[in-house]
Symmetry: C2
Subunit: 338 residues, 2 copies
């Protein structure tokens, strides 16, 4: 079987992770990654053996930095069948036109609006909707987190209403600019974009989201309040979560008090970059009272969408029709247990 | 009019503030404050002219530190008509017996259980319930914050359900131990104590609370989701909040992005210790959709209960029958605008 040729546009937080994840598959390969400036991340891409493609007006800077470049970004379009666009949010419009002109497929990330592609992707919720599509969009880390738990619950026990508070990390661990250093910042414009973004995949879901930015770099943490259509029990919910892909149940009694310990667990598990691809739910924090369900979940903003990007490639490139087969394959390659 | 004689047991975060607030009233006076160790706070109490009372076995330590002591804690019981107990949580049982034996009144703080006193206090919600009582309890900072906004809304438009997420400060600004320094910690045991604590004053209210501890020292920040009995509009809610005591509406467009700016405002207002006694609500973060109401509120954990302690003294010592008169008086003395 010939491998699907994947290009990564933007070798940043998500791009570098998707590159490694693509490399870990036996049915696809990385034909190149792009970088605009000769940073330490560009050097690590070279060190890992990825071919570097840069914008034409960056060629000199890379030459000056003595970093070998394979070609320009437009050259990469010729080598790739599908681009995973991991450029910063809101520049997708420009690139979409380029991909279109080159006649190749492309996946965008959650920083772009749903309207850019008209199709959004989550492995659990709607794998087949991107089947054969030229363009799709993997929803953001928080939206992915919400879909991973809410979608299976909605499938088994219909959800009437969901009220979510997202406590967001201020900046990523690799950033040293921005973010509250000691304070909490509400996103006053309501609803925040997260609820509508979940609806881009589950349009029937009544969901409202509020968000607070906190002084932390590690993970987002959600409180989820769900009004179910019928009464249920905590065990039923835990059983649903236990069988949901990329949802990890942990217990506070095991010493996992918060996001710091979850990230420490990722390091102990020997994960690439110590990532935690799974949405982490506190088993002893799941509570059902009649039709009301309450739980906490933690989202590793840097990595939870990485396996979804791999599955999205398989759906768009018609490599595997069965979502669960693609999910299993991706999981196995990244060390995610079912 | 003779002034009511108030003793403060525990000159810590709350005690030192209540002492200053009592001193600022014309109908009560501080007859003494207690401290167990000769710390810098004990020195500032002396510098401010407060008489210091200490446990018998601390007398030597204070003598060694050359800090003048007026007597033992038991001596203070003789000088005071009412004690404001600001000792650490869960030691109230022991002190209650002492106050009882001394035949004096006492106010406890939110660190104690409602069952200790059988009466809990909030100026807005139930001023008159502590009328003439020997013992009462001013509920915690978070509970006070919830009562200040939920009670007036419930009075005007009945509340069917309230779902609150409290993002709590890790430690107080004056502490350098404990608290997540980079992380978020959920309180997994649900419901958290905050909901039941609100019910100690509004037993008919359906309220559920979840809580997350964050890496910040400044304030708590709540997301409040309220299901009302009938449809309403954002302006109606804002009008209720505008006329509710000790609720301050601010706008993010004025530059108040988060808790850091609120605390900066407290400093600019020239408040004692830069405190923000009011519950701060983002006006542009209040949203009504049909019967659902969403808002954010910030709680200054060190100071919001201070005016309630003053009002509670007035109710328990039968100094002022009309809640609104006491509230106005306290507000005026502390620089809180209506």
């Amino acid at each position: 079987m010939s491998k699907v040729k994947v290009g990564i546009n933007g070798y940043g937080t998500i791009g570098k992770r998707v590159a490694d994840a693509v490399k870990a598959q036996n049915d696809m390969e990385v034909v190149g990654v792009t970088k605009t400036r000769p940073t330490f991340e560009a050097q690590t891409a070279i060190d890992k053996g990825f071919s570097l493609y840069v914008p034409e007006d960056s060629l000199k800077a890379f030459r000056d930095a003595k970093m070998p470049v394979k070609g320009t970004i437009k050259d990469l379009y010729k080598a790739a069948e599908i681009m995973v666009d991991c450029t910063p949010g809101d520049v997708g419009e420009k690139y979409k036109a380029e991909y279109e002109a080159a006649g190749i497929k492309a996946i965008f990330q959650g920083g772009e609006d749903h309207s850019l592609t008209g199709i959004s992707f989550n492995s659990t919720a709607n794998y087949s909707e991107s089947w054969g599509a030229q363009f799709s969009r993997v929803v953001s880390c928080n939206t992915t987190g919400l879909l991973r738990t809410l979608n299976p619950i909605d499938k088994k026990i219909k959800i009437k209403n969901a009220y979510v508070t997202l406590v967001r990390r201020g900046v990523d661990p690799g950033d040293s600019k921005g973010g509250p250093i000691n304070g909490l910042e509400p996103t006053v414009k309501l609803p925040t974009h997260h609820g509508p973004d979940v609806k881009s995949i589950m349009p029937w879901l009544n969901i409202n989201t509020m968000a607070i930015k906190a002084s932390t770099t590690l993970m987002h943490l959600h409180t989820v309040v769900v009004e179910l259509e019928k009464e249920t029990g905590t065990d039923e919910i835990l059983n649903i979560m236990r069988t949901s892909p990329r949802v990890k149940l942990i217990k506070s009694s095991s010493g996992i008090k918060g996001t710091a310990e979850i990230m420490e667990l990722g390091r102990e598990m020997g994960r690439n970059r110590s990532d935690m691809y799974e949405i982490v739910v506190w088993e002893d924090g799941v509570k059902v009272v009649g039709k009301m369900l309450y739980y906490y979940q933690a989202v590793h903003q840097e990595s939870d969408v990485v396996p979804e990007n791999i599955d999205c490639i398989r759906s768009m490139c018609k490599m595997e029709e069965d979502a669960s087969v693609s999910i299993s394959k991706t999981n196995k390659s990244l060390g995610i247990r079912q």
